[in-house]
Amino acid sequence: MALHDMGSVRRGWHGGETLRAADGFGLGVEAIDERCGGLARAAVHEILAAGHDDAASAAGFALALAERATLAGPDEGFGRDLFGRPRTAERGAICWIVQDYLAREAGALHPPGLVGLGIDPARVTLVRVRDMADGLRAADEAARCRGLGAVVLAMRGDGPAGRIGASRIGGGPRDWDLTASRRLALAASASGVTLFVVRVAAGAVASAASSRWQVRSAPSRPAPANAPGNPAFRVALLRHASRGMGSEWSVEWNRAYRAFDLVSDIRGAASSRPVAALPADRSAAADLRRTA
């Protein structure tokens, strides 16, 4: 256990998930989970990629959340072991639904990369769909299946219905809207499946999602010899059913603990990172106005 992993040690001493909500799961970071009250299982969560080139980051964040959502459920008290690593059982498979266009633009999911995140590729089923309408249909089917743990639907653009991968200009029918999201949310709450909808190059739209996050890549905490480190994200909570909206955090995914670490928590971080750690409750409104 490396000395600088103070965040993990602190977590271990607390002896248990910071989140004790009845059917929720968190990022594994105290500050975030307490602030927003955790994320609901059996609900829909939207994850927006801040820019076109943040698609892989958004997908990674969604998959990490899916992994956390399918860890030990609320009524299985597995507890933690001596080093703070959760003793968990995996619960349910993950269904990854991706639009063809997005797979061409950002690359196809590479199983060794899943292993690198700590996710077992054998738990993941891949569904390739031609367009958003098909994607929503597949997600709808999957959301009704009790045997599934989580569904991650990755789409590009907004619709209009029928145009593949296009961004909307002006008005017109969308594929992803309140009706579609509500249908998914109802299906999810009935079956217990947690849905994550990753939208790349799409704007925020009124939806029945329980939480909405905006994700962009963030500089990582370097590994020795100035090598790129663990996956790091800058996440902004745009909307949440209870609270915590407008906050931004820099987090890093820890594969061993299958949880996030708040980057500013870590002491001894290399000073070569150009961005200073941000306080947890800084308003993200200014940042949002800057994003395209």
């Binding site: 892989a56 990490a64 999911l109 060794p112 990369g113 690198g116 995140l117 009790r146 599934l148 996956p231």
Partner: protein, 479 residues
């Protein structure tokens, strides 16, 4: 129809009018033209003929699933036990002739106890229906040609004084076979109906098959679906009696104009519940690229289960895990029915270090995974060594101000310039020379991160000194 035999052009087939005028298949074209200067000719198309016969074979499946092609230009149907569905043997024969007539073909039908008898009657006799056990009498008057043995044997038989099959039958068979060969005796026995022979149908007989013939062609889709549901019910009952379930259900729609359409659905586990199977059929029918066109209506609908598998009722465990597994299996079946086998996939590891081949996707319908190769586990504490997404093919990039043998300082990709602040590498991956050839370039992979925090997996193709100008590519993106 004119074809080529050797150097000469001869008539292969003539229509009724030509036959009346005295032309026969085998006549040289030159002779025919000499007699009838304004003869209309068409080039023979044996391949086209075969295709037509194949289509007819499919159309004849409505009468019986056991259809075989009887070359040339013939079909053999085994209608044992089905003739009552069509109103009896005579009615069945009449319907076949009528159908062919509607398509512009003249058909000759013979119905007998065995295939050899029927073939002999139809090709060398007048066709017709032979009463059970009456084969001997029926073929008695057929000429020797009906035996279809070689030229030599035929000549020998003629020289011996035989003229028809009845003559042959009168002769004691032991001496017969000694003189004219076993094959001849066997052929004779088959034609006379003394030896039983089965045909080999074009499509194997399914384990379980139910069908419904409509008195009037059916166009109404909901009624069609209802009929299909009833058939699935019946099939389910049959399977239940045997303690089996099916993993493939095939619905065959027979149109009144002869077109046959098959829709099949598959499941991961043996099933027989109507609701489950109908759900899959609904998904498949809704997702058909080429919708089911009734034309002038469907005459018949057949549901077959090619192979039944043992279906044992499993006790659900205390945590209901079996039901969840079933629910997941059913979901995957529905997704496959809706989107196709190639779009619902799972990951398999391959025994290869070459990134494009280290992992593969396999259709979920392919069956139980072989657990041979395990995923390479990353070293604990290290950041991910492989990217989350991979481009196929790798995307070329321009690298600028690179240090030879080192990672790039900056690169341009998709018209965006990236400044590199962190890098690790090279990880040298040599090509699999036994697959890619000895000249395939070695790749040096680097994990790099730009100022904005995007992490890339890039490689240099070809080592300095190995290739003229090594090229750079981005192969994947990290989270």
């Amino acid at each position: 129809m004119v074809g080529r035999r050797g150097a000469a052009r001869v008539i292969e087939a003539c229509d009724a009018r030509a036959l009346e005028l005295g032309l026969r298949p085998g006549t040289a074209l030159a002779d025919a033209r000499a007699r009838f200067p304004d003869l209309a000719i068409e080039e023979a198309d044996p391949a086209g003929d075969e295709r037509l016969v194949a289509r007819l074979a499919e159309a004849c499946e409505r009468f019986t699933p056991m259809v075989a092609i009887d070359p040339p230009h013939g079909l053999m149907l085994d209608v044992t036990g089905c003739t009552h569905l069509f109103g009896g043997e005579a009615a069945l024969a009449a319907e076949i002739v009528a159908r062919c007539g509607r398509s512009g073909l003249t058909a000759k039908v013979a119905l007998a106890d065995g295939p050899a008898t029927a073939r002999a009657l139809v090709r060398f006799g007048d066709g017709g229906i032979v009463a059970p056990g009456g084969s001997e009498a029926a073929v008695g008057r057929l000429p020797l040609m009906a035996l279809e043995v070689g030229e030599e044997t035929q000549r020998a038989l003629r020289r011996a004084g035989f003229r028809s099959l009845a003559d042959l039958d009168a002769h004691p068979s032991v001496l017969f076979s000694a003189r004219f060969g076993e094959a001849t005796t066997r052929r004779l026995a088959e034609i006379l109906g003394r030896v039983d022979r089965r045909i080999t149908p074009l499509r194997p007989l399914p384990d379980c098959m139910v069908e419904r013939h409509f008195p009037e062609p059916l166009v109404h889709s909901p009624s069609l679906r209802e009929t299909l549901a009833h058939l699935v019910d019946e099939a389910g009952e049959m399977l239940e009696r045997r303690g089996q379930g099916g993993r493939l259900f095939e619905a065959t729609f027979f149109r009144s104009d002869g077109v046959v359409r098959r829709i099949a659905v598959g499941t991961g586990r043996p099933v027989r519940e109507t609701a489950v199977v109908m759900r899959l059929f609904d998904e498949r029918l809704a997702a058909l690229a080429d919708p089911l066109d009734p034309g002038w209506g469907f005459d018949a609908l057949r549901l077959s289960v090619p192979a039944g598998e043992a279906l044992t009722a499993r006790q659900p465990t205390l945590d209901g895990r079996v039901n969840e597994d079933r629910a997941l299996s059913d979901l995957l079946d529905r997704l496959v029915a809706r989107f196709g086998r190639d779009r619902v996939l799972r990951f398999v590891a391959r025994d290869s270090h070459w990134p494009e081949r280290a992992a593969d996707v396999v259709s979920i319908a392919e069956g139980a995974p072989r657990e041979d190769v395990a995923w390479a586990a990353p070293l604990p504490g290290d950041p991910p060594a492989r990217p989350l997404t991979l481009f196929d093919p790798p995307q070329p990039i321009e690298t600028l101000s690179e240090v030879p043998d080192g990672p790039p300082m900056r690169f341009r990709w998709r018209r965006v310039l990236h400044e590199i602040v962190r890098a690790e590498g090279p990880e040298r991956i040599a090509p699999e020379w036994w697959r890619d050839g000895a000249d395939a370039p070695t790749r040096d992979y680097y994990r790099i991160e730009d100022a904005a925090g995007h992490r890339f997996w890039v490689f240099r193709s070809g080592l300095f000194g190995e290739a003229e100008a090594p090229r750079w590519f981005v192969h994947g993106l990290f989270a």
